[in-house]
């Protein structure tokens, strides 16, 4: 059983999570409550246990902090109270650009474009407007503006922090897959030749 001071700290943390518009980091919670990280962690664990599946709320770790949020299965009823923001689904191009930025940040538009093989100015601008990427300054000695993902990006994709992505190597094509890709290209070239014959 936890003692009275810990229960008190848990109540404070719960109240802060309820009021805060942004995820609160452990450091932030320590500053606000004047408690040490250890007790704050324990208070968070206590809260997480208290907000179980029986309740409407859950404590989650997202975008570098902790939040008190409604449970996923309650989305339909929650949206009756407050409409979701207008349909802002991301296009495949926007998602791929986001992926490139997330793995290579900070990265310039030119580098993104070189990797994607297309102009990405418009896509990057859209992502900037939506607050999913932000400017990350220029390299020392000048150069093109570089971009990185934002906390809104982490919140949207349920990431705990900046590095919370699966290793890129895990997404690489396997040998046979790469071979299949080469074969498809060769077939396409042959077909193009055939098409050139009268």
């Amino acid at each position: 059983m936890s003692g009275a001071p810990e229960r008190d700290l848990a109540r404070q943390v719960e109240a802060l999570l309820f009021l805060s518009p942004d995820p609160l980091s452990v450091v932030g919670l320590c500053e606000l409550t004047g408690a040490a990280p250890g007790p704050v962690q324990r208070a968070l664990a206590l809260l997480a246990g208290r907000h179980g599946p029986d309740g409407g709320l859950e404590v989650a770790e997202v975008a570098g902090g902790h939040v008190l949020r409604t449970r996923a299965d309650l989305a339909p009823v929650c949206d009756r109270l407050r409409a979701r923001p207008r349909d802002d689904r991301l296009s495949p191009a926007a998602l791929e650009t986001l992926a490139v930025v997330a793995y290579l940040e900070p990265v310039s538009r030119r580098d993104i474009g070189r990797l994607r093989g297309v102009q990405v100015d418009q896509t990057v601008t859209t992502l900037l407007d939506r607050g999913l990427v932000e400017e990350a300054g220029r390299p020392d000695g000048g150069g093109a503006m570089r971009y990185r993902t934002t906390r809104a990006f982490q919140e949207r994709f349920g990431l705990r922090d900046r590095g919370d992505l699966p290793p890129l190597a895990g997404f690489a094509l396997t040998g046979p897959e790469a071979e299949a890709l080469r074969r498809r290209l060769a077939d396409a070239a042959l077909l193009a030749d055939e098409g050139g014959e009268p």
Binding site: P21, R82, L95, G158, L168, A169, A172
Partner: protein, 239 residues
């Protein structure tokens, strides 16, 4: 295929002497150089004069088709175009570069798919989005007496409106007009100042209006020698 005898007919050229089908095979293997083959000679020998005496129409037309294909192949070689089985090294290199690029990019495309799945999985929970700048909706504790005083102010009767401007004696214009006309008939000439001596502003204004009306009708002539001075009203000479 052409009839066997058509295909195996013997042809006699400078660089080849033998059956037609063997020539075709050697040409396709590049053992005979197509560029050096005098195609017109071959055409003349294969389907030259009297061709229909030697072959039926179908065999002849298939020979023509084969010769046309040879002509096409030769022209393309002469233009230096890439031909099957001789892949352009540039094209190969380009294809390999494209493949390398696609392979390098593939992880990001897959990462994008992962992100999309992740987004869908994170779409359920809702967060409060109340900016901290928004003041907390906590009311100041109010005293009932203040409320009562405010209500009393609302219930107090408003001051009675002033009616002093109502009920002034009215003097209709036609009456003033008639009086002025009568005076004019008697006296011929009138002084405006004398007429309105002791009259209030309303009567003064009515008298002026009457004088103007008489002047408009041509019954009187008005004369005001100096601004704001007296106005002389004279009966108009009737013509």
């Amino acid at each position: 295929m052409p009839a066997p005898d058509a295909l195996t007919q013997s042809v006699e050229l400078d660089l080849f002497h033998g059956p037609f089908d063997l020539l075709l095979t050697l040409l396709l293997r590049d053992e005979v150089d197509l560029l050096e083959l005098p195609l017109v000679d071959l055409v003349e020998q294969a389907v030259g004069p009297g061709v229909l005496d030697r072959w039926d129409a179908e065999a002849a037309s298939q020979l023509v088709l084969l010769l046309a294909a040879l002509a096409d192949l030769k022209s393309r070689r002469m233009l230096g175009e890439a031909v099957d089985e001789e892949p352009d090294p540039d094209a190969l290199e380009q294809r390999e570069r494209l493949a390398a690029r696609l392979i390098a990019y593939a992880p990001y495309a897959r990462a994008a798919e992962w992100l999309a799945a992740r987004e869908a999985a994170s779409a359920g929970p809702r967060l409060r989005r109340v900016p901290l700048e928004t003041p907390a909706p906590v009311a100041e504790p109010g005293r009932p007496a203040d409320l009562a005083a405010a209500m009393a102010r609302l219930l107090a009767a408003p001051p009675a409106p002033s009616l002093v401007h109502m009920g002034r004696p009215r003097r209709p214009l036609p009456e003033v007009l008639q009086r002025l006309r009568d005076s004019l008939v008697r006296l011929r000439t009138l002084s405006f100042d004398r007429m309105v001596e002791g009259a209030d502003r309303l009567e003064e204004a009515l008298t002026l209006l009457a004088a103007l009306e008489l002047a408009r009708r041509g019954d009187a002539v008005l004369d005001q020698p100096e601004p704001f001075g007296d106005i002389t009203i004279r009966a108009a000479a009737r013509g």
